[in-house]
């Protein structure tokens, strides 16, 4: 039941969750591949998306390809708390994830290309009435990868490829702070660790709004191999390295009025807070109505909640995919991929406010994510020279352990279904359409963060998260 005991202990709580999104991790980096449930490491689509799905797949390309696409995410979800059985719905906007691929076959054996995609990104927005606002109510993650890629056909049956990822990372977290969880400054003569909640302040008493924003550019690598056993059967593999972000940003705080008034003379340590003292005044500058007592928490130059820098290190995990593709008769191709993502690299996270001498803001978070496996299956049918249809199914597990299912990433095991089509509009112009339905298993989770510097436990779980999403992909490709 006990929750965090420092002012902003949950300030960065969402970062690993934001990134740890097996569910929010975006694998839909091409409309064609989206219709195939993300398969294709052994037989990538010809739209240039091999830059992401199979870097070795650019070898053998004839001419050039330019593809511009977007994936639209309509995310639906909510949290139903155990006691009141009240459901709070996600307030997510319609998200758009862009992709751009340019690929060119320099020689029959050498292919090059450059891609822009966003394999990690999310926005989780909850209403301010939601108890989870103290973990984060509007959280945004963007990781945009720009990947120049080279692929070479080493032998008629083996191609190798690789690229350098320049990754532009940005995170934004908006969060409320709960006065009940905040410590009373020891300057008042109370024992260290005494909480305002111990003076009766009710949980859910917002007293500050925090906004945190940080960005960082880093570098990663992406490699792949394609092995063609014969004209029908091929195998593929790819590996994207970890991207480490040493984030440095700014945290700013705004006071939120509680409207509470001290109802009776209150002895706090050696001081007496008089009846009638507004608690909002008590938190700010000394006021006559409070016997000259004021905690100065929001003083812009010396208060604990002054704007100040904050740092942390976050890693986008490595991911690997292995795949097989088999062409059967009548234009049909069957595909299967296995994907593993090393989410277990998210174990602990140190959040540092280097200018906070009180030590009340810095903290260590225990995320303890698990590595995840994904299984993807698809079938594709080239009906004729103009139309190609495809469909697929995928399943993958959740990265967050049972004690880390939070408002920032209420994720779990997922079943997903896809369908798509390619139509040739003219000699060089093609259009792709795809739809994907994500159905996540309901999962127990919590709305609050754990005790300061302590791991959370499943005992803190206080309700059920549900989630599903509709994804729509559309792209245009031009061959030259």
């Amino acid at each position: 039941m006990r929750r965090s005991v420092r002012y902003a202990l949950v300030l960065f709580a969402g970062f690993p969750a934001l990134l740890g999104a097996q569910g929010f991790g975006i694998y839909e980096q091409g409309t064609c591949s989206m219709g195939r449930a993300g398969t294709g490491v052994a037989a990538p689509c010809t739209d240039g998306s091999a830059i992401f799905f199979s870097p070795a797949g650019l070898a053998g390309l004839t001419g050039g390809r330019v593809t511009i696409g977007v994936t639209l995410l309509d995310v639906e979800g909510g949290f139903t708390d155990d006691i009141l059985q009240h459901e709070t719905r996600l307030d997510d906007p319609f998200l758009a994830i862009p992709q751009v691929y340019v690929a060119y076959g320099v020689t029959p054996k050498l292919g090059v290309g450059i891609g822009l995609f966003a394999p990690y990104g999310l926005q989780t927005r909850w209403p301010l009435s939601f108890d989870g606002r103290f973990s984060g109510y509007d959280n945004i993650l963007r990781s945009v990868y720009v990947q120049p890629t080279v692929s070479y056909q080493v032998t008629p049956w083996l191609s190798l490829g690789g690229g350098l990822d320049v990754v532009f990372g940005k995170v934004e977290l908006n969060q409320r702070l709960d006065l009940a969880d905040a410590p009373v400054p020891t300057a008042l003569g109370v024992p260290a660790g005494t909480l305002f909640g111990q003076f009766g302040i009710a949980p859910g008493t917002d007293f500050a709004d925090t906004h945190l924003e940080a960005s960082k550019t880093t570098v990663a690598g992406h490699f792949g191999a394609l092995f063609k056993v014969n004209d029908r059967l091929s195998f593929g593999a790819r590996f994207m390295t970890q991207a480490k972000f040493d984030y440095s940003g700014t945290a700013s705080f705004t006071q939120v009025p509680t409207g509470l008034v001290v109802p009776a003379d209150l002895s706090v340590g050696s001081l007496t807070v008089p009846a009638g003292c507004p608690i909002d005044a008590l938190l700010t500058a000394p006021a006559a109505s409070c016997n000259g007592i004021g905690l100065n928490l929001f003083n812009p130059s010396a208060g604990v909640f002054r704007s100040q820098p904050v740092t942390t290190t976050i890693k986008n995990p490595s991911q690997m995919a292995l795949g097989v593709a088999y062409k059967v008769a009548s234009g049909w191709t069957l595909l299967g991929d296995y994907q593993y993502t090393w989410w277990d690299s998210f174990n602990e996270l140190d959040i540092v406010f280097p200018q906070d001498a009180s030590g009340a803001l810095s903290r260590k978070l225990f995320e303890r994510y698990d590595g995840t496996s994904g299984f993807r299956f698809a079938a594709e049918w080239m009906k004729d020279a103009k139309w190609t249809f495809r469909g697929g199914y995928l399943y993958h597990g959740g990265a967050a352990p049972a004690e880390t299912v939070t408002p920032l990433l209420p994720e779990g095991n997922r079943n997903e279904f896809t369908a798509g089509a390619t139509v040739k509009l003219s000699r060089g112009l093609t259009a792709d359409l795809a739809y994907q339905f994500i159905r996540q298993n309901d999962r127990r989770g919590r709305t609050r963060e754990a005790l300061f510097n302590q791991p959370a436990t499943t005992g803190m779980n206080n309700g059920l998260y549900n989630f599903h999403a509709h994804l729509f992909g559309v792209s245009l490709g031009y061959a030259f």
Partner: protein
């Protein structure tokens, strides 16, 4: 080809089945499974010090967990949070009332407060706070009109976070409520330490009480979630041994030669057969006189003193409670709720030997330290003891089961 289609279709069907599988079992079972249990999914108790668990003019987690709503909720099988005050309390309860000042647990002063537990519950089911009268239940501590300032006002912060009982209750969206309100609208008359004990000025006029109580009920109606409730009538506070009958003092003078009790302490009025109003001497006034006399100083108790509650004042208090209870019963009837008048049970308790002892008691009771006012009353002479809290829980449970045809299990 056909074989492949069947395989694909079969695989997709299995996957769809897996996806469609609901995980309702992931919810904590909430609805009590006994007959009528759904009504008690979320129970909230309104009230004052008795409902909060106050004993010995103190409140602590050890006492709060013994309060009747906690016991009732446990029987109901409903999750129930109360604002736990760390032991030894806020303030610690009285362990010996005959010292001056009374001795409290761990010899701590009456101003000591161990504050709330750091395990702050997400919401409160027991929203009662000591000192609550019907106005305090309705109004925040910064809205008009205001009840007179009281030492118990600090509980508005410590227990309710500066909000009203109604505000905190609304957060819970209760399905069932109990309310035991009104005791403090009349008990001020016997606890008034000024030279004005028993005065009508210490009592909320019945008409005003009716207006405020109905406003309270209207607020409950506006919740929209309450399926049922039980209202508890006001206690005839004149029966509390804290305000002992003058005849007990008159009898005591036989054992204390230096104590003189004037005959006016025997004044009484028969209201109806078996129901007599008698002069009452509040403990805070009478006990020092007894102690002074027992110390050898000749002392006289004159029941014409304004610290004493006269017969007309007692009659007024009795009548006021009757009117309060008419209002409360009417509110219950109007909503089809259960109503319990606690006074018959308490009167029956008074007939149990040793349950309620007058002060001063002679010959001295060997249990005078452990239960100076009897086993049914805590060491402050006003608030119920642990056994009486349990008795109240049992009475309420029986009443609820009978009224709602429910099957709440026995009080554990």
């Amino acid at each position: 080809m056909t074989y492949r289609r069947i395989l694909v279709a079969g695989g997709l069907s299995l996957a769809l089945l897996a996806a469609a599988c609901h995980e309702d079992e992931l919810f904590t079972p909430l609805t009590p499974s006994y007959k009528g249990g759904a009504m008690f999914t979320r129970y909230v108790s309104f009230g004052n010090s008795i409902t909060a668990g106050f004993q010995g003019f103190g409140l602590s987690d050890s006492l709060q967990r013994l309060a009747y709503p906690v016991l009732l909720a446990r029987a109901m099988g409903s999750p129930f949070y109360y604002p736990s005050l760390t032991n030894p309390g806020c303030p610690p309860p009285i362990t010996f009332i005959f010292s001056s000042p009374p001795t409290r647990l761990n010899n701590l002063p009456a101003t000591f407060c161990a504050l709330r537990s750091s395990n702050v519950p997400p919401f409160l089911n027991n929203v009662a706070f000591p000192g609550a009268d019907i106005l305090a239940v309705l109004n925040t501590n910064y809205g008009d009109p205001q009840p007179p300032a009281s030492a118990t006002d600090v509980y508005k912060l410590f227990l309710l976070g500066g909000k009203t009982e109604l505000q905190r209750a609304r957060e819970v969206q209760p399905t069932f409520v109990t309310a035991w309100l009104g005791n403090n609208d009349v008990s001020g008359a016997i606890l008034d330490t000024s030279a004005n004990a028993g005065s009508a000025a210490d009592v909320t006029p019945p008409a005003t009480f009716t207006t405020r109580f109905n406003a309270f009920m209207d607020s409950l109606d506006s919740f929209g979630t309450i399926q049922g409730g039980l209202l508890i009538g006001v206690v005839q506070v004149t029966g509390a041994p804290y305000s002992s009958q003058g005849r007990a003092y008159f009898a005591a003078q036989a054992s204390i030669p230096t104590l003189t009790v004037l005959p006016n302490c025997l004044d009484s009025l028969v209201i109806q057969p078996g129901d007599t109003a008698r002069v009452l001497v509040p403990f805070h006034f009478g006990a020092p006189l007894v102690a002074q006399a027992a110390g050898g100083t000749p002392t006289t108790l004159d029941c014409s003193d304004t610290h004493v509650i006269s017969v007309p004042e007692v009659v007024n208090l009795l009548g006021t409670v009757v009117q309060y209870n008419a209002t409360i019963a009417q509110a219950a009837t109007a909503r089809g709720w259960a109503y319990v008048d606690p006074n018959p049970a308490l009167r029956a308790l008074a007939g149990v030997p040793g349950a309620i002892l007058p002060f001063p008691a002679f010959p001295p009771d060997p249990n005078a330290t452990a239960a100076p006012f009897g086993t049914a009353v805590s060491r402050d002479g006003v608030h119920p003891s642990t056994s009486t809290q349990r008795l109240v829980a049992q009475v309420l449970r029986d009443s609820i089961n009978a009224h709602y045809n429910a099957a709440i299990p026995p009080i554990p």
